[in-house]
């Protein structure tokens, strides 16, 4: 199973790209500090809004900051928000969804009510209000807000899946042996939701990166922190589009698009892994079979 997962070209692409950005986020400061030797926040007065050059590979901003250094630093901010928000959202979805589905009855009623409440809440205005309250929104706060407001859909899915797993014979059998509920959930039910949880996490991560960018664009961000969203926001506020400073806003936009595509590719792989029916119907199988059929037909003609 593992080998077929990795042999998928889509999955490989996804893994490489996501891995690259994770690496960028982890080693970002070292890269900018040691390898490039440029502080992303430093202003180079000699090069203001300069196009790409040998000194500044991706050019500089209106403030004379190096775009490449900013991009690398921004990866850390964006990935941090993405991963943390996805983590919070997924954990909440599991807690609400799986618990509701597994126990049913009154527990289900209460948890499901809360889930539905979060689902119909107008998230964007709420985020505005909350972030207005919490003045000085750091990346931490942004991630928490995105995570806390974005788990309800996932909880729904997990609840439905748990409902279908909890009455399977193997869960009943282990319950009959006297297995405790936490162990039944942890050891028997959750492994079957792994595919769902993994793809939920991936899409939550993308959602959070986009949401962070969107919020930054709308002005809700930590003015001190650098993220891809804050880069685009800064470019926008300085009318970079009108002035043709494409090197300022295209790279962060591309990065967001790239990581979104990569996570979607990974998701395809996870999907096929957790749904064997999709696997057998792949085009590769059909192509392989047709090739044999053609060979047989050719043999018949020559014979």
């Amino acid at each position: 199973m593992k080998t077929t997962f990795l042999s998928h070209p889509k999955v490989r692409f996804g893994l490489v790209v996501v891995g690259f950005f994770v690496g960028l986020a982890v080693f970002g400061p070292w890269l900018t500090g040691t390898v490039l030797g440029i502080d992303p926040r430093a202003n180079d007065i000699s090069a203001i809004a300069a196009p790409p050059s040998s000194e500044h590979w991706l050019g500089t901003t209106q403030f004379g900051q190096d775009v490449l250094a900013q991009l690398i630093a921004g990866a850390r901010g964006s990935m941090f928000v993405g991963v943390l928000a996805a983590l919070i959202g997924t954990v909440l979805a599991i807690v609400f969804g799986v618990t509701a589905g597994f126990f049913g009855g009154r527990t289900d009623h209460i948890l499901n009510f809360v889930t539905n409440l979060f689902m119909v809440m107008p998230v964007l205005p709420l985020i505005f209000i909350v972030s207005g309250y919490l003045q000085g929104t750091g990346l931490w706060m942004i991630a928490i807000i995105i995570g806390v407001f974005g788990w309800a859909g996932g909880a729904r899915t997990l609840r439905a899946q748990t409902l279908s797993v909890r009455n399977r014979d193997f869960v009943l059998a282990m319950r009959m042996l006297g297995e405790s509920n936490p162990r039944l959930i942890g050891a028997e039910v959750l492994p079957h939701l792994g595919g769902w949880i993994a793809s939920m996490f991936l899409s939550a991560m993308i959602g959070a990166i986009l949401a962070e960018a969107g919020l930054a664009f709308l002005g809700i961000s930590d003015s001190g922190a650098i993220s891809w969203g804050s880069m685009i926001q800064a470019a926008q506020s300085q009318s970079a589009v009108l002035r043709g400073l494409w090197w300022w806003f295209v790279p962060p936009g591309l990065c967001i698009a790239l990581i979104g595509t990569a996570a979607a590719m990974l998701n395809f792989g996870v999907d096929e892994l957790s749904n064997p029916k999709l696997r057998s119907a792949t085009r590769r199988v059909v192509r392989r079979t047709r090739r044999v059929e053609r060979a047989v037909a050719a043999d018949a003609r020559t014979a």
Partner: protein
């Protein structure tokens, strides 16, 4: 096959259901609710070292009965008694399931595909006795596997369910149930999803566990021949009710209820091959009818709309239980009316054909 041992019955019952009923409330898409009478007034006793088979068609309530005994459901009426002590409501806890274990029909569904054989046995052993060390549990797990003829047991511990054949899986399921040292094993069609050639081995295993190790066993099946092969006593269920019971050779060899007779005659019997022509065998077999709805079951005897011997009384009153000696009993008005001989007089389909040409009085 050993014959029913009379000594076993003296020890008293291990598990019994006393006059239990189970009604389910179902709602349709519009929201109207109706009551499904899945089991009504069923009583059964399980003894150490004996196997009781419950036979019937789907919808006869046999699986519901097994699940009542396993305490997946609370009975609507009646009670479950464990070693002559009534089991209280909600007592499906650890204590009960240390004594009573259920084997499911589908060996592919009752083992979690993500866990190795070892995980299943280890958890069961650990739950049963928390003090045992890992090495001791391993030794016991191997012992359990070898008890169900998976030898050498050590080779199977690290296997995943998908690496095992259907028969091996069902053996692992049985080993896991045995890990808590139960006194009662409930088998809900334990062989019906296995390949034909390995069913007998499984039946032999169940027989051995009961006769040699003294387990009380319930064997739920729709296959009368396999019930006859492995069990001591047979109970026949129809539309949620028990209609006949007793020693297997009496019930299957000389049915005392028209439905039992229909069931026996409908079962495939290769011994018939060559004795009569095929067309004779299947003559009149087209109008045998179907079991009724359990939402509005027929009044009186539930079998009367299909029964070739039905009298006007059958539609009005439920027949009482008639004891026929040797533990054989039946619920049919023919016994009360002194017409019991008619059941065995001719084949079911012949009786049915005669009935349609000359209506009863």
């Amino acid at each position: 096959m050993s014959s029913p041992t009379s000594t076993a019955t003296d020890e008293g019952t291990v598990l019994s259901a006393v006059d239990v009923s189970k009604h389910f409330v179902v709602r349709n898409a519009v929201g109207d609710s109706s009551v499904v009478r899945a089991v009504e007034h069923a009583s059964i006793d399980l003894y150490a070292g004996r196997i009781v088979a419950v036979v019937g068609e789907s919808g006869s309530g046999k699986t519901t009965l097994a699940r009542l005994l396993a305490r997946f459901y609370e009975p609507t009426e009646g009670e479950i008694r464990l070693e002559d002590v009534p089991v209280g409501k909600g007592a499906a806890g650890r204590g009960y399931h240390q004594t009573v274990q259920l084997i499911f029909q589908d060996p592919f569904g009752s083992l979690n595909p993500v866990h190795r054989v070892w995980h299943n046995l280890d958890r069961a052993l650990r739950i049963h006795d928390r003090r045992t060390g890992r090495a001791e549990r391993r030794r016991r797990a191997i012992g359990l596997l070898e008890r169900v003829s998976l030898t050498p047991g050590a080779d199977f511990l690290d296997k995943f369910p998908h690496e095992l054949s259907g028969g091996q899986r069902q053996r692992v399921v049985i080993a896991r149930a045995l890990a808590v040292a139960p006194k009662v094993l409930l088998g809900d069609e334990p062989i019906s999803m296995l390949d034909v050639s390995i069913r007998l081995e499984m039946l032999n295993l169940l027989g051995r566990l009961s006769r040699d190790e003294g387990l009380a066993m319930l064997y739920i099946t729709h296959d009368i021949a396999s019930a006859r092969y492995v069990c001591d006593d047979v109970v026949v269920m129809y539309a949620g009710q028990m209609i006949e019971g007793g020693p297997k050779e009496r019930v299957i060899g000389a049915p005392a209820h028209p439905y039992t007779k229909l069931l026996v005659e409908s079962s495939p019997d290769p011994d018939r091959v060559g004795t009569t022509s095929r067309d004779e065998q299947f003559a009149d077999a087209e109008t045998l009818g179907e079991p009724p709805s359990l939402i509005e079951p027929p009044t009186g005897c539930r079998f009367h709309p299909r029964c070739p011997f039905a009298m006007s009384r059958c539609a009005l009153q439920e027949p009482p239980r008639t004891d026929l000696g040797d533990g054989h009993w039946s619920r049919c008005w023919l016994h009360e009316e002194g017409r019991a001989d008619e059941i065995g007089a001719e084949s079911y389909s012949a009786a049915l054909a005669r009935r349609t040409t000359e209506p009863a009085l």
